[in-house]
């Protein structure tokens, strides 16, 4: 049994080798003579590769352009409507192990600076955990908080408060 399979391996290897070498020979033999005059293909038109647009991260119309997760008042759990935002970034980060993100948690400006810092961290941590559960490496993501110190909206009204109850995904 063992002798036969060994023999079979040798035979198949030999066939493969033969095939390879013959293909190479054929390639050489059949290689067309490159001649602009006799060939109709246009070799002078240059195709543009846009290095920026290769990375879907930089597509302003792409799914990765959405990088904010909003939270309800006094809430620190990711709402269903923001699952897709997190999933899209998780997919990208799993495929790009060299990329790192910082999740920046924020709160509205009511209450103490330090307690709000801890609440903003709770939001950032919720997003960080969701990313890690989707396969993103711990080393790729850091959760930090800005608390109420860097508000995006400056008003003292519900719309402004809601805008500031937010975690942002910031690529490094």
């Amino acid at each position: 049994m063992r002798t036969i399979s060994t023999f079979a391996l040798i035979v198949s290897s030999a066939v493969l080798l033969a095939a390879c070498s013959s293909t190479k020979l054929d390639d050489k033999a059949n290689a067309p003579v490159q001649n602009g005059a006799s060939n109709g293909a246009d070799t002078r038109t240059v195709g543009t590769v846009n290095a920026g647009s290769v990375d879907p991260l930089n597509d302003p119309q792409g799914v990765l352009a959405k990088r904010s997760v909003y939270f309800d008042y006094d809430s620190y759990t990711v709402k269903a409507e923001y699952r897709s935002v997190i999933e899209n970034h998780a997919k990208y980060l799993v495929a790009h192990k060299d990329r790192k993100v910082i999740i920046q948690g924020n709160t509205d400006d009511r209450g103490g600076a330090e307690y709000n810092l801890a609440l903003g961290q709770k939001r950032a941590e919720a997003v960080r955990k969701a990313l890690v559960l989707l396969g993103v490496s711990d080393a790729q993501v850091e959760a930090v908080s800005f608390g109420k110190e860097k508000p995006k909206a400056l008003g003292q009204d519900e719309a402004s408060y809601a805008e500031n109850r937010r975690a942002d995904i910031a690529y490094q």
Binding site: G111, G112, A113, E114, Y115, A118, E142, V144, F146, G147
Partner: protein, 428 residues
């Protein structure tokens, strides 16, 4: 002997002022404290110090402003200028309503310094209470005046004065944040740190030479210590996640901090040089805003382990934390008085964030402020006043209230948006 005489004199002053019946000298100070403004203001006359008009800083105007602001003195108007060498007619000053009299002189010395002399008399007892002679550089004349005010406060109330202490706070104008240091009256501001990112939670070292704070200059909260004189900065805590809420141990060797390196915000203790990190609290939620008790043996902190934020206390050797605040559903920013008996904190009630004081010996609570966004309380080192941040319009300013709530003042000399005050220690 001197001590005994001064205590007797304080008792005499308090009795004369408040019209109280006889009390042992040791109780006079306590009684004086609780009688409050109005009933207990000590009438004191400060005469002009001959020679002060030639100095760059008028000493007596600073002394008078300090004493008036404290709320415990009634300044007796007078147009007199008495030097420290003048003879004092006790009876006539008593007749004018002054139970104490401060006199002095200012003279320029050959080396450019000023010789400031002052004497304090108890006109009721007919005795000298104090005498000081200070050689001061011209730029230190304000400090000299504050020291005289401290001495008057101490001799007449038995409580150390805080006029020569300093405060630190954060200002914001446009995109610029500044950590500033000023005299306790808000004058003489100096910039310790300038940044384009937020600065929060400054905290004076017990020896007054350094301030620990949280800076966002690295796009995340990191805890620094800065030497105010040498400008030397060092990072105390820059772990993965957020680093915040530094609080010094009473001996200045360690800090309690809030870190998120292990998940949500928890309290840790770390040496001032950044070594020896040790986790102190262990909850599934938020534990933050640690403060050492004055004996250094335990830590007060804010925790949401029961739902909303409340103040807890835990021994530095571990053990299970004990809840300290119970009234209200949102109690944050615990600060403990130097004698360990009073807890100041911010409570949200009916949507208003206000300053409260809880007497830890009997559980009695009083509200001390009436703003709607008050925060960041900080005790004066003598434990008699609390400074806090308040908002008027959209602007932050600083306010001071006595721990009994009777004396209130606002620091209005500063321009701009001010927050996060911390009151510095007594300086040697």
């Amino acid at each position: 002997m001197i001590k005994a005489r001064y205590l007797t004199s304080v008792a005499a002053t308090a009795l004369a002022v408040a019209g109280l019946s006889f009390a042992p000298a040791s109780q006079a100070q306590i009684r004086f404290e609780i009688t409050g403004v109005g009933a207990s203001q000590i009438p004191v006359a400060i005469t002009a110090f001959p020679g002060e008009e030639a100095a760059p800083q008028q000493i007596t105007s600073v002394v008078k402003a300090d004493l008036a602001r404290s709320g415990v003195f009634k300044l007796i108007d007078n147009g007199d200028a008495l030097s420290d060498s003048s003879a004092v007619d006790y009876a006539s000053w008593q007749k004018r309503g002054a139970n104490a009299l401060a006199v002095g002189s200012v003279a320029r010395l050959a080396d450019g310094r000023f010789d400031v002399r002052y004497r304090l008399y108890d006109t009721v007892a007919g005795a000298q209470l104090s005498a000081l002679s200070i050689g001061a550089q011209p730029q230190l004349l304000r400090l000299t005046a504050h020291k005289i005010a401290d001495d008057i406060y101490q001799k007449l109330t038995g409580i150390p004065g805080i006029f020569s202490t300093r405060i630190s706070y954060v200002t914001k104008s446009g995109n610029e944040y500044r950590l500033e240091v000023a005299d306790a009256d808000g004058e003489g501001t100096q910039v310790a740190l300038r940044s384009n990112e937020p600065i929060i939670s400054p905290s004076w070292s017990p020896d007054g030479t350094k301030v620990a704070y949280v800076s966002f200059e690295m796009k995340k909260p990191v805890v620094y210590i800065q030497n105010l004189v040498t400008r030397q900065r060092s990072i105390v805590a820059n772990f993965k996640g957020s680093n915040s809420a530094p609080a010094w141990s009473p001996d200045g060797s360690r800090l309690a901090v809030a870190l998120t390196r292990d998940g949500l915000t928890q309290v840790y203790v770390i040496n001032a040089d950044g070594s020896g990190l040790r986790r102190l609290t262990n909850s599934a939620g938020i534990d933050t805003e640690p403060q050492f008790s004055p004996d250094g043996g335990s830590i007060y902190f804010t925790s949401d382990r029961s739902g909303g934020p409340q103040v807890y206390k835990v021994g530095l050797d571990g053990g299970s934390p004990q809840r300290v605040t119970f009234a209200g559903s949102y109690n944050i920013s615990p600060r403990i008085s130097p004698d360990g008996k009073t807890l100041a904190f911010i409570s949200r009630r009916d949507g208003q964030f206000q300053l409260y004081a809880l007497d830890l010996t009997n559980g009695q609570e009083i509200r001390l402020s009436d703003g709607n966004r008050d925060q960041s309380p900080s005790f004066a080192p003598n434990g008699k006043y609390i400074m806090y941040a308040t908002e008027s319009g959209r602007r932050g300013s600083l306010a001071v209230v006595s721990v009994d709530g009777r004396i209130k003042q606002r620091l209005t000399t500063q321009a701009g948006d001010i927050r996060e005050p911390t009151w510095g220690p007594f300086m040697k």
